[in-house]
């Protein structure tokens, strides 16, 4: 073990910030994080054992007890379930002679669920030792189980098992005309940094992760901070169930995204950038590193970018299965090698981010757009969309439709238009913006994709009339309870209470008052949680309760709460013994 550990530590240059990276290697090597490895790391990285254990327990892809040599994680998003995940799971369990949640006695294979893997347009999906397996079928399960039993190394498996398609179905402003490599950088230096920022300001570009903070303003704030070090971080931790656009953008337009980051670095004065790539996209890691190396070779990254004296480089850091790391301050904690727990704000990352230095965190799509804006000008972008939502939005469409995939639309496009384009029929409703967003019914399809109407990070899940709303809400509510970081009381306890309360009603054990209680827990979560996760965790309940109250009421048992016995009569013996018969010795039956 010592040799392995030393090599791994050398690879991360003994930087404690890269703790997740080394734990990933240890997990791969030993199928878990052994106690000896934890002690060794604590000594060598000079960090407490508690930090290592906390990180190992926080991220779903690390384990303190051994998993199988082949570790299978089944994506458990609602879209996987709609595509027949339950039956395939049973089949897989039979083939492997292994129950979900277990490690097989011979240690060869383990099977578990995981949150959405970003393959909703080609599910049901799974990860095997971290690598994505899309389009699971009975046939592919036959192939996979045979390869496992034959103990064939994953590197020798047929590549078609891992083949992920881009499925770009509709292009608009950005995707119809991607910029040529390096043109963004040359355009920026030709215009000047101030003028380039002015173009981004003019474009009215707002953050594409969903929150919609104005990009130019964020960059300006960061640039104005007095500091020697600044950082640019690209948030590619798209964990919102139903979103997968960043997967495609990074697969196909990585250069443009990196160019956007480099432009940001020049404007704010950063020398180091990070791409925080969700662990589920491990299969993109090598390719993206190759793109970065190519850019270094071509002078588009490094000490003297396009001979203009700009020094900037980008490092890829992988996540390890934690939805909360999509929250920017949790992401920064994760970059520092810690559990992804959102920070208190203020201060905001623009003034106190990575290693407490000013940091810009933007979504993949935001950097992609910024690069194009610097080339094409702010007006080019601002002329598209609505008054309050400039430009276009890239949607990840999945669920009950003929053509799931990537669709780009100008802001202001109606839901009806989008449903028509993707071939959705007989629609019950659409989940806009993922579980943390909003469920809209088929009475609302004239509404628009826009910050002022339906704001979204891009997740768009279609449900047809055969789907049961409570199944959907249960899946989403389970998701939040599983992904809550547990830092604050309302979310740590509230997401689990909400799950219990919803299950009680959905399973037919609810009685009068239980829907009111469901709403009350939801309000607590929304109003008192520390971060966006908790504040939106009750949205699936709240947005469907508002639209379909009768659905919840129908689940309730008809109990009026009459006590089963006469409470006052039961006290008669006690009254006789006490020689009392006054009013205070009698109990009134509780009125309904």
């Amino acid at each position: 073990m010592k040799n392995f550990m030393q090599a791994a530590l050398t690879e991360i240059a003994y930087q404690p910030q890269r703790l997740l990276e080394i734990l990933r290697k240890i997990q791969q090597q030993y199928q878990h994080i052994p106690p000896q490895a934890i002690d060794y790391l604590a000594d060598e990285l000079k960090i407490p054992i508690t930090q290592i254990v906390a990180v190992a327990e926080f991220y779903s892809f690390f384990h303190l007890t051994p998993q199988g040599h082949y570790q299978i994680l089944l994506s458990d998003s609602i879209t996987d379930r709609m595509l027949g995940k339950a039956d395939l799971t049973t089949y897989l369990e039979q083939k492997l002679q292994l129950k979900l949640g277990q490690v097989r006695a011979d240690g060869l294979v383990s099977l578990n669920n995981t949150s959405c893997t970003g393959l909703c347009d080609q599910g049901p999906a799974a990860l095997i030792n971290g690598y994505a397996l899309p389009n699971l079928s009975y046939a592919s399960i036959d192939a996979i189980t045979a390869l496992i039993e034959a103990q064939k190394p994953i590197s020798e498996w047929p590549p078609e098992l891992f083949s992920v398609a881009d499925q770009i179905c509709k292009v608009d402003l950005l995707l119809s005309a991607p910029i040529e490599k390096s043109t963004g950088l040359y355009a920026m230096f030709a215009k000047g940094l101030t003028a380039s920022l002015a173009e981004i300001d003019l474009s009215d570009l707002r953050g594409r992760g969903g929150a919609g903070f104005k990009t130019a303003q964020k960059w300006q704030f960061c640039a104005e901070e007095t500091s020697q070090q600044r950082y640019v971080v690209c948030n590619a931790d798209e964990g919102e169930p139903g979103t997968f656009k960043d997967r495609v953008l990074l697969h196909r337009y990585a250069d443009q995204v990196f160019e956007g980051m480099t432009i940001c670095a020049a404007i704010i004065g950063a020398q180091q950038g990070f791409l925080y790539l969700r662990g589920e996209y491990l299969y993109l890691y090598q390719q993206l590193n190759a793109v970065l190396q190519q850019r270094r070779d071509e002078g588009l990254l490094g000490d003297n970018i396009v001979n203009q004296g700009l020094a900037f480089d980008i490092e890829i850091r992988l996540g390890a299965g934690a939805y909360i790391c999509g929250e920017e301050s949790a992401l920064i904690e994760s970059l520092e090698g810690k559990p992804g727990i959102p920070r208190n704000r203020p201060p905001y990352p623009v003034s106190c981010g990575y290693l407490n230095q000013p940091t810009v965190v933007n979504n993949v799509e935001t950097f992609l757009a910024a690069a194009a804006i610097v080339v094409n000008g702010g007006a080019w972008f601002a002329n598209v969309g609505t008054e309050k939502s400039a430009g276009s939005k890239i949607l990840s469409i999945s669920g009950d439709c003929e053509k799931p995939g990537i669709y780009e639309y100008p802001f202001g496009t109606s839901i009806a238009q989008i449903l028509n384009d993707c071939g959705a029929k007989n629609v019950l409703g659409v989940q806009i913006g993922g579980p943390s967003g909003c469920f809209i019914s088929n009475q609302e399809f004239d509404r628009q994709i826009a910050f002022e109407d339906l704001a979204t990070g891009g997740s768009f899940i279609v449900f047809n009339q055969q789907r049961k709303i409570l199944d959907i809400v249960q899946n989403f509510t389970d998701f939040f309870a599983h992904e809550s970081c547990g830092f604050c009381t309302p979310c740590r306890v509230g997401t689990s209470l909400l799950k219990k309360q919803l299950d009680k009603i959905a399973n037919g054990h609810g009685s009068a008052g239980d829907v009111v209680e469901l709403d009350a827990i939801s309000q607590l979560l929304k109003n008192y949680s520390h971060c966006g996760l908790g504040q939106t965790a009750a949205n699936p309940v709240l947005t469907t309760l508002q639209r379909y109250p009768e659905l919840y009421q129908q689940q309730l048992k008809n109990i009026s709460y009459e006590p089963g016995f006469d409470l006052d009569a039961a006290l008669e013996t006690a009254r006789q013994l006490a020689h009392r018969n006054d009013a205070a010795a009698h109990l009134q039956q509780v009125e309904e």
Binding site: P35, T50, V53, A54, N344, S484, G486, T489, R492, Y528
Partner: protein, 235 residues
């Protein structure tokens, strides 16, 4: 001097103070458990949530600013703080009558202060262990509310790193910085701040349990708001 209002009452504060610091200095109590004067604010228990210009904020982390209109003692906030306290009760195993911290416990005292009369929510009844390995200090994980005070005390006051909070969501747990995970193998000392800071009965000093009998303990005679304000002003 800069000023803000709390429930309409004008309060002066100095630059750099949080809302709870400004309030306490002015003699206004805001319920709290994870906050303790002199320690880095944590902002996790959410009991100190106040409404600042229409938005809910943690008073222990949010900076006081000129002209803020802070709401603290509203019916809504009191009711919701009670529910947050009830959440803390059902999450762990808090059995006051058999707990040696009863009467000195801040969780219990906050419950009294907020007029909490039942647990309201269904209990989780988690399986949590007791670590009695250390000769002088006992950890009963059943009573941990993850306030992080022992973690901060060890780091900030004792110059050690004895405690940490691990796990995720409802599976949160207090962990010990030692190879075995047991307290006896850590470098904690019975005189450390971290051994004495627990607001509940999760970390206890052995052999001292009933030196003050039940009925003669601090919150048996004083409400927690009195005690908190007195401690702050008396220091």
């Amino acid at each position: 001097m800069a000023s803000l209002t709390i429930d309409g009452q004008r309060i002066e504060f100095s630059e750099g103070q949080t809302i709870i610091e400004a309030a306490t200095a002015a003699g206004v109590y805001i319920p709290h458990l994870c906050h303790k004067p002199g320690y880095t604010p944590h902002g996790s228990c959410k009991l100190c949530t106040v409404n600042v210009n229409g938005r809910n904020c943690s008073a222990c982390t949010f900076p006081a600013a000129e002209g803020q209109a802070v709401l603290n003692n509203t019916e809504q906030l009191k009711q919701d703080r009670r529910k947050i306290t009830q959440m803390l009760f059902v999450e762990g195993n808090h059995l006051c009558p058999s707990c040696e911290k009863s009467g000195n416990c801040q969780l219990q005292a906050v419950g009294y202060q907020l007029n909490m009369l039942d647990n309201h929510f269904p209990h989780f009844y988690p399986h949590r262990a007791v670590d009695a390995s250390h000769p002088e200090i006992l950890i009963d994980h059943n009573r941990c509310i993850f306030c992080n005070l022992c973690v901060r005390a060890s780091r900030e006051k004792d110059g050690k790193n004895v405690f940490g909070i691990s796990g995720r969501g409802i599976n949160k747990r207090l962990i010990i910085n030692s190879a075995t995970g047991q307290l006896k193998d850590s470098d904690i000392d019975v005189n450390d701040s971290a051994a004495h800071i627990c607001p509940t009965g999760a970390i206890l000093i052995k052999h001292t349990a009933y030196q003050a009998p039940i009925g003669e303990r601090i919150y048996d005679h004083h409400s927690i708001d009195e005690v908190a304000l007195e401690q702050e002003h008396g220091k």
